[in-house]
């Protein structure tokens, strides 16, 4: 995993064309179906391949309100073949779509970092799309605890 330094993080930020980060509505929790629907919308119904994606997330969140996430895709970033979009889904949040990062070949790397809010223990699903229409996915379980009795 990349050890994102401050400079790298800023570079990543600058490389992005647009980021849309969506908060939650605080309404009823989305069913896993809603997460699946979002993914289908993104993939156009095509099944993504597992792999190519590195997700950096804690196994147990220190603070569910601000969980550091970084994600990268091991793929070329050339003019005719590049990672164009990375979507992040939290399948237990009231609104499962967390963010979609958009890239161009000028981005240099398909890599992004942000902080996300997690309502409860859930899977963070990442789906990446290339300009050539390839799809990749991976996911990681993040536990959000209420306790504090370890030691």
């Amino acid at each position: 995993m990349q050890n994102l330094s401050r400079r790298q993080a800023l570079t990543v930020g600058a490389g992005l064309v647009t980021i849309s980060v969506i908060g939650w509505s605080g309404q009823a929790f989305a069913a896993a179906k809603e997460a699946a629907d979002e993914i289908t919308k993104f993939t156009g119904g095509k099944a993504p391949d597992k792999g190519k994606i590195t997700i950096e997330l804690p196994e147990i969140a220190e603070n569910g309100n601000t969980v550091p996430l970084s994600v990268s895709v091991d793929a070329p970033m050339t003019a005719d073949n590049y990672v164009s979009d990375i979507m992040v889904i939290a399948d237990g949040n009231p609104r499962p779509e967390v963010a979609t990062f958009h890239f161009t070949p000028m981005s240099g790397k398909a890599e992004a970092a942000t902080r996300i809010r997690l309502a409860t223990t859930q899977n963070i699903i990442v789906v990446a799309k290339t300009s050539g229409g390839q799809l990749f996915t991976d996911q990681k379980l993040v536990k959000v605890t209420i306790g504090g009795c370890g030691g």
């Binding site: 536990k143 504090g148 030691g151």
Partner: protein, 562 residues
């Protein structure tokens, strides 16, 4: 490998005593010698000495090992998840031997009377000096796995100073930590800056820029080879302990960072890579199976003491126990960047047999002097053994819960499943030192709040998953939260949300009503601004009033899925 034989050697020293029980302490002392406990046929050119989880204990103590220490998933039934007779059989340790006393709960009370107290930094110093003299300073590394600066009245009152002052006589080459951080970010930084050895933690970053906050490793030259020691602090410190005390640091297992650091030190020429870890044994076992290139993991946090090394692939896992009971010695023959041979011994620091090192003894006396009157003050007596370790309950925690219920007029008491805390034998006086050995933390306030039955179940489920999640990376270590006035059943193999059932309000015998509010008293809340008296005051008041405490074995937790 002769580690089994070494264990048997200790066994042989006491085997002759087995005829009658209990045998006398005088006889045990006569038969057990320092020379025998330290006897070791050196191997190779490098010796690692390891201590961990001393928890503020400067002087010899009693410490009963757990009778219940369950493993789940792949760890089920594997060391260190063996107790009592199963443990003795697995490692070929004779019953009633010194090792049986040090490593298991079997016949603890009788053996404690025969073998006496165990531990003390002055005993550890004697062993360290002896090994360094035998091997030469240029072949020995002494590494401290952390949880050193917390766990006693002195460590709490001096904010870790007494431990730091005494530990320096042990001359550690590096340390890492966990409870150290509960001294608060400013204080722990101040103490770390005063050390003449590095505090290593590859898995801590600053929260602002996500950059490394500590040195990840240090390179040493010992025994003619380059050794890299990498540090791994307890990954869930801001989850299991108050995050507000270390707001600028973020932890985590950070397996990828560990992998990157191992690659880095290998490239830099390290022929031996040692991970000084506070992950906990099961987390380290998984890490060893996924991160290549680590020769030795010196484990800690889960307080396991194992008389043999556990091998995972090519990685050797060492577990050196807690509370200063042991110091472990691992000799390594490293050639061509690979461990060719090793020999290991977990040395029990039986205080009657091992001499106190005078320099360290003087440092300890000086460190304890300001608190001497307090420490020795007798509060009451106990008729029954007081101990803490065990996955679900311990008599010391039952005592604490009884005190919380009574002194805060609560229906239900919750006491954290800490694994530190010393034991008191039946018939002994309970001193202020004993009470603080079980309660000395920097966030001791006893809260009193109303909690719904549903919320109580959520808490139990949450803590149970910290202990019994089949994936060790999702475990935090520690034991189950202790309950006063509340019974329940637990199936450890179920997923979170369905392990806990049959919750009962013990006073009335009625089932816990999810909708009803109960008055709950507890301590060690991780929330900032928690108000209430310090737990040790309530426990002291309770014991003083009771005069003599009797704690029956806890039968309110029914366990299944074993």
């Amino acid at each position: 490998m002769l580690n089994r034989r070494d264990v048997l050697q200790i066994g042989a020293a006491t085997a002759a005593l087995l005829g009658s029980s209990p045998f006398t302490r005088a006889l045990a002392q006569q038969r057990l010698t320092q020379a025998e406990l330290l006897k070791f046929e050196a191997v190779g050119t490098v010796t690692l000495l390891h201590v961990a989880d001393i928890h503020g204990q400067l002087v010899p103590i009693y410490f009963r090992e757990p009778s219940i220490n369950l493993g789940v998933g792949e760890a089920r039934g594997q060391p260190p998840h063996l107790t009592g007779t199963d443990f003795l059989k697995r490692f070929g340790i004779p019953e009633k031997s010194a090792d049986a006393y040090a490593l298991t709960f079997e016949e603890f009370e009788a053996l404690a009377k025969s073998y006496g107290k165990i531990g003390g930094l002055d005993r550890a110093a004697t062993v360290a000096k002896t090994v360094r003299a035998e091997r030469g300073d240029d072949k020995v590394l002494l590494l401290d796995g952390g949880d050193t600066w917390q766990g006693s009245l002195g460590a709490n009152a001096s904010r870790g100073q007494d431990m730091a002052d005494c530990m320096k006589w042990l001359k550690p080459d590096a340390m890492t930590g966990h409870w150290e951080f509960t001294l608060g970010q400013a204080r722990v930084t101040e103490l770390i800056d005063s050390l003449d050895f590095p505090f290593l933690a590859l898995n801590i970053r600053d929260t602002e820029w996500n950059e490394p906050a500590f040195d990840a490793y240090k390179m040493f030259e010992k025994g003619g080879i380059k050794i890299a020691v990498l540090g791994q602090a307890f990954p869930y410190t801001p989850v299991a302990n108050p995050r507000w005390m270390m707001p600028k640091w973020s932890f985590g297992i950070r397996e990828d960072d560990a992998r990157a650091q191992v690659e880095k030190v290998r490239k830099a020429g390290a022929q031996l890579v040692v991970l000084l870890s506070h992950n906990g044994f099961d987390v380290d076992r998984k890490l060893a199976s996924r991160v290549g290139g680590i020769d030795v993991i010196l484990t800690s946090h889960t307080h396991d003491a194992l008389p043999e090394v556990v091998k995972v692939g090519k990685t050797l896992l060492v577990a050196s126990g807690s509370h200063g009971k042991f110091i472990s010695r691992l000799d390594l023959d490293v050639r061509g960047g690979e461990v060719r041979d090793f020999r290991y011994k977990l040395i029990p620091l039986l205080a009657d047999a091992i001499a106190a090192d005078p320099e360290m003894a003087a440092a300890i006396a000086k460190a304890r002097a300001p608190y001497a009157t307090q420490l020795s003050r007798v509060v009451g007596q106990t008729d029954s053994l007081l101990y803490r370790r065990g996955n679900f309950s311990g008599t010391f925690d039952d005592l604490i819960c009884a005190a919380l219920l009574k002194e805060r007029d609560a229906e239900i008491a919750l006491s954290p499943g800490f694994r530190w805390g010393t034991s008191v034998l039946p018939g002994q006086a309970i001193t202020i030192e004993d009470i603080h050995n079980a309660t000395a933390i920097t966030y001791p306030q006893v809260y009193r709040i109303a909690m719904s039955g549903e919320r109580l179940k959520d808490v139990l489920e949450d803590v149970a998953d910290n202990l019994f999640n089949p994936d060790p990376y999702y475990q935090q270590g520690g034991d189950m939260v202790r309950c006063g006035g509340l019974g329940y059943s637990i199936d450890i193999n179920k997923p979170i949300g369905s392990r806990i059932a049959a919750m009962t309000h013990l006073k009335t015998g009625a089932p816990i009503d999810p909708k009803k509010e109960y008055v709950v008293a507890g301590w060690a809340s991780v929330n900032e601004g928690t108000e209430g008296p310090p737990v040790w005051e309530l426990v002291e008041r309770y014991i003083a009033r009771e005069k003599t405490v009797h704690v029956q074995p806890n039968s309110a937790v029914k366990i299944s899925g074993l």
